[in-house]
């Protein structure tokens, strides 16, 4: 049944060409698809990292919000023991607690998705309450200044307004710093300040 002749030769040529075509096509497709797979992998990695970073940021913000509402005196004295944290993030729930030891606190690592998040807290006194018996210079002082321009030509550069009176505060002002570690090279650090609003 072997086919010979003019048609046979033509068919045989066509088969050979198809094989070469397929091989060339496969090579070219492989050259195009391999970087595509790499690109998708990179894109997926970037998207995953972004989700983790955003989760860490939201977690830090939520912990700051919690610390702005806890008892100020206990925060200042370092007598807060355990603060439960039930924080809903876009990627999942952070269920843990902050264990205070004096002015610092840390949480156990909680896994959300593929990343593991842990929170650390530092509380630092920025301004110390003024003491009438033993005055010091670390208190929060509000000033009253004279904004009236002195007579004569204005100095160059303009001098700051002269203080007329000051008020030294009898409360501390603290800095609350929260750090969220989530396995990346850089952790998320957030800082804000809290004043005593209880009076």
């Amino acid at each position: 049944m072997k086919r010979t002749g003019r048609h046979g030769t033509a068919l045989s040529t066509r088969c050979g060409v198809s094989l070469v075509e397929i091989l060339v096509a496969l090579v070219i497709m492989a050259l195009a698809i391999l970087p595509a797979i790499g690109a998708f992998s990179t894109s997926y990695g970037t998207a995953t990292r972004q989700i983790e970073q955003e989760t860490a940021l939201k977690l830090g913000e939520a912990v700051i919000n919690v610390l702005l509402t806890v008892n100020y005196n206990k925060l200042l004295e370092g007598s807060l023991d355990t603060i439960p944290l039930n924080i809903q993030t876009p990627s999942g729930e952070f269920k843990g607690s902050l264990e205070f030891s004096g002015m610092t606190a840390s949480s156990t690592a909680v896994a959300i998705g593929r990343a593991s998040y842990s929170v650390s807290v530092w509380v630092n006194t920025v301004f110390r309450a003024q003491n009438i018996e033993t005055p010091h210079n670390d208190a929060l002082v509000f000033g009253f200044r004279d904004f009236e321009a002195p007579p004569g030509p204005p100095p160059v550069p303009p001098a700051p307004p002269a203080p007329v009176a000051t008020y030294s505060c009898f409360d501390d002002l603290v800095c609350v710093k929260v750090r969220v570690d989530y396995g990346q090279r850089e952790a998320v650090d957030l800082e804000t300040f809290r004043a005593d609003m209880s009076r």
């Binding site: 048609h7 033509a10 040529t13 060409v17 075509e21 060339v24 096509a25 070219i28 497709m29 195009a32 698809i33 970087p35 595509a36 690109a39 998708f40 990179t42 894109s43 970037t46 998207a47 972004q50 970073q53 955003e54 940021l57 830090g60 702005l68 002015m103 610092t104 650390s120 530092w122 630092n124 920025v126 301004f127 929060l140 002082v141 509000f142 000033g143 009253f144 200044r145 904004f147 009236e148 700051p160 307004p161 008020y167 505060c169 009898f170 409360d171 002002l173 800095c175 710093k177 750090r179 650090d189 957030l190 800082e191 804000t192 300040f193 809290r194 004043a195 005593d196 609003m197 009076r199």
Partner: protein, 182 residues
């Protein structure tokens, strides 16, 4: 016939090349989008830190009101007088005096000390202190009163503060309910 097959082969390779070009174009778009996304976290982080700085400003402003209420009521009374046609010069000056302590741009003020504290990273864990420039300032500090039915009046402090970190600026406004003794 041979010529016909030869033409078909050319078409096949051309089709493969078109497909490959399309795939490479899509990869290019994907890579560009991925690269654009890389900076978004940095911006988000800066915005959050700017908001934290603004929140510090709000705490400082409300605290100042709590320790020096009579000073503020004087400004408030002056603002009422201005609304009734008085000269605004004294009001502007006393308001400027009130807000002076609450701007990081003014040296030797509590706000400037807070800025210094933030930038030197002395808030514990100093090894990871983020390098950057913090700024905040109180734009508005008003007393807003709502007359409700009967003789009931609800008073609020309206504080508008801007915060910035490395030039990224965010504004925060807070309304705090207060009770003023008659």
């Amino acid at each position: 016939m041979v010529k016909l097959y030869s033409t078909k082969r050319g078409v096949a390779i051309a089709v493969v090349l078109v497909f490959c070009t399309a795939i490479l174009a899509l990869i290019g778009i994907l890579l560009m989008n991925t690269r654009q996304q890389r900076g978004t976290f940095g911006k988000q982080y800066e915005q959050t830190r700017a908001l934290m700085a603004a929140r510090s400003g709000i705490q400082l402003a409300i605290y100042k009101y709590r320790v020096l209420p009579s000073e503020y009521y004087r400004i408030h009374q002056l603002s009422l007088d201005v609304k009734n046609g008085a000269d605004p010069a004294e009001f502007n000056m006393t308001r400027m005096m009130w807000l002076h302590d609450l701007q990081t741009a003014n040296a030797d003020t509590p706000a400037a000390k807070i800025k210094q504290f933030l930038e030197t990273g002395s808030a514990g864990a100093g090894d990871a202190a983020l390098v950057g420039t913090f700024d905040f300032g109180v734009d508005e500090f008003d007393l807003v009163s709502h007359n409700l039915s009967g003789l009931y009046t609800q008073d609020y402090l309206r504080v508008r503060v801007w915060g910035s970190f490395n030039g990224t600026r965010k504004t925060l406004e807070e309304l705090v309910e207060i009770k003023i003794a008659e």
